[in-house]
Every structure is written in structure tokens, then in C-alpha cells.
Amino acid sequence: MSSNEFFQVESHGEATVVTVQLPRISESEGIDQFFATLNALVKKGHTRLVLDLHQVELVSSRALGKLVVFQRNLAKMGGWIRLCRLSNYLQELFRITQLGKLFQVFPDREQAIAGAASAEADPAK
């Protein structure tokens, strides 16, 4: 499992929890590291991902767009992505963009991981 100063990666059963420690995921900062890490995890077979975003202050529109594509590709491989611990501002971002309809968003890690236990019934799959 490859943790570094920007990401903490842990296994919880069939889910891989990625705590993102980047303050911004945007074109001017962080977007390349973020998706390089996610793609590296998928290459290693970690296709059921919980992203803990509590340290992330801002996600740009392009990062959101890339996350949509990433999730779609993951679903084609039988995987999924779940988001948890979004700040109030990020929750607002998902509400405004209506992306809460595409992504599964959980208030905490435990619920996101527990949801992972019933992945077969996952609508995102």
C-alpha cells in the first residue's frame, strides 16, 4: 500500500480507504498527484475506493469532471468509489453541481466502509 505525504492508504476489508491530505485538488495544485495516485491504486487491483476528503478545502470543476470519468471507468471494471467526510463547502459544491446524484457521499468513514460490505447491491456498480 503506498502512503505518502499527500495520501494515506489503508485496507478495510474489500475497501481501500484513501485519506487525501491535499488542501486543493485543482488545475493549479494537486490534480495530477490526486489522479496519479488513484490510477496507481487501480492498477494494483484496488478498485473499491473510499475517499476521505476531510482535509480537502477545494475541488475545481476540472477535478470534478475527471472524477466523474474516473468513476465511470472504475464501474466498467466492476469497481466503485465512495466519498466521505466532505466539508460543508464541498457538500455545497456537490449539491450545486448535482453530482450528489452520481456519487455516493457518506458523512463518515465507518458508514462508507460499511456500505462497501454490500457492494453487490451498489447502484454505482
Binding site: 485543482s26 493549479s28 477545494l58 475545481s60 470543476s61 476540472r62 463547502y89 450545486i96 446524484k101 452520481l102
Partner: protein, 159 residues
């Protein structure tokens, strides 16, 4: 990627009135320099004691506008520049960003919240700018965006 010392990103007109901070500069098409400019403006807003929610909205809108100017406008051509004029006061943030691209028609950008567009990877930036700023306007050519944000009332900040 080009790198300029932070000291090169300085206000050319520190204060045209007692309370306003005015900054104007041409910067090269370089996302790292855009990030420096963004941080400098956010720092100034914090000095004027703008609230966290307003800072979040301005941060997001400014990020979108600067990246749009460099990526879509100047197509990351390092020989092209982005002109920025900005004014910050206690009650209002005002910025004008001009690129050297061909421009675009904002009306051509589809509604990214429509169900048929929800899974499209692009088109959200302009909507976010409009959502978080008080005013967003483009010039006729479509290569200059002007944005204003009026400071939220304290009760709106906590909402």
C-alpha cells in the same frame, strides 16, 4: 514550467483610496504563477477580514477563471499573457481577467446540471463562477471576464 519569484507579483497601485487595494499585472501563461496570484489575492481578502464562505467562493471562481484564461483562452501558449486587474475592499471584490485567445460565447456552454449532461466531464466551471460570485460578465469577444462579489452579511456567512 516557468517560475517567477513571488516578489515579481506585486501590486502596481497599492492603494488608490484609503480603503481599497488595487492590483494590476500581466502574467505569463503558467499555472504556477496563477496559483501565486490566487494566493496573494486570497491573502489580501483575509487582511480585509472576509469570511470563510466568501473566501471559498472567490477562491473557486478565481481558480476557474484563471485556468480558463490560460487553458481555453491562451491554450497554454507560453508566449501569451493574461492581464489581471483586481480591486479588493472591505465590502467588494472586483476582478477583470483578459486572455489573448479567440474568445468564446458563454451561451454555448451547456447546462451541466441537466440530467443528460451530468456525466459530462466539462462545463461546470462557468456555472460555479456564476453561483459563487455576485456578478459574472464577459466582453463581446469572450476573452475577458469581469467578476464582482459583494461581501456576505455575517448571518449568511454562518449559513
Amino acid at each position: 514550467m516557468n517560475s517567477v519569484p513571488t516578489s515579481d507579483v506585486k501590486p502596481v497601485n497599492q492603494a488608490n483610496t484609503q480603503s481599497d487595494w488595487v492590483w494590476e499585472q500581466r502574467i505569463p501563461t503558467d499555472l504556477e504563477i496563477a496559483s501565486q496570484v490566487l494566493n496573494q489575492i486570497l491573502e489580501k481578502l483575509q487582511q480585509f477580514q472576509w469570511g470563510q464562505r466568501d473566501l471559498f467562493g472567490i477562491h473557486l471562481a478565481l481558480e476557474e477563471a484563471l485556468v480558463n484564461a490560460m487553458k481555453h483562452g491562451n491554450r497554454m501558449d507560453p508566449n501569451k499573457q493574461v492581464h489581471i486587474w483586481c480591486r479588493v475592499s472591505r465590502d467588494e471584490f472586483h476582478i477583470r481577467i483578459t486572455d489573448q485567445g479567440a474568445g468564446f460565447n458563454p451561451e454555448d456552454v451547456p447546462d451541466c446540471t441537466a440530467p443528460e449532461n451530468l456525466e459530462r466531464p466539462c462545463g461546470r466551471g462557468l456555472m460555479l463562477m456564476r453561483n459563487f460570485m455576485s456578478e459574472v460578465a464577459y466582453n463581446e469577444k469572450g476573452n475577458q471576464v469581469t467578476m464582482r462579489k459583494r461581501r456576505s452579511q455575517p448571518n449568511a456567512e454562518s449559513a
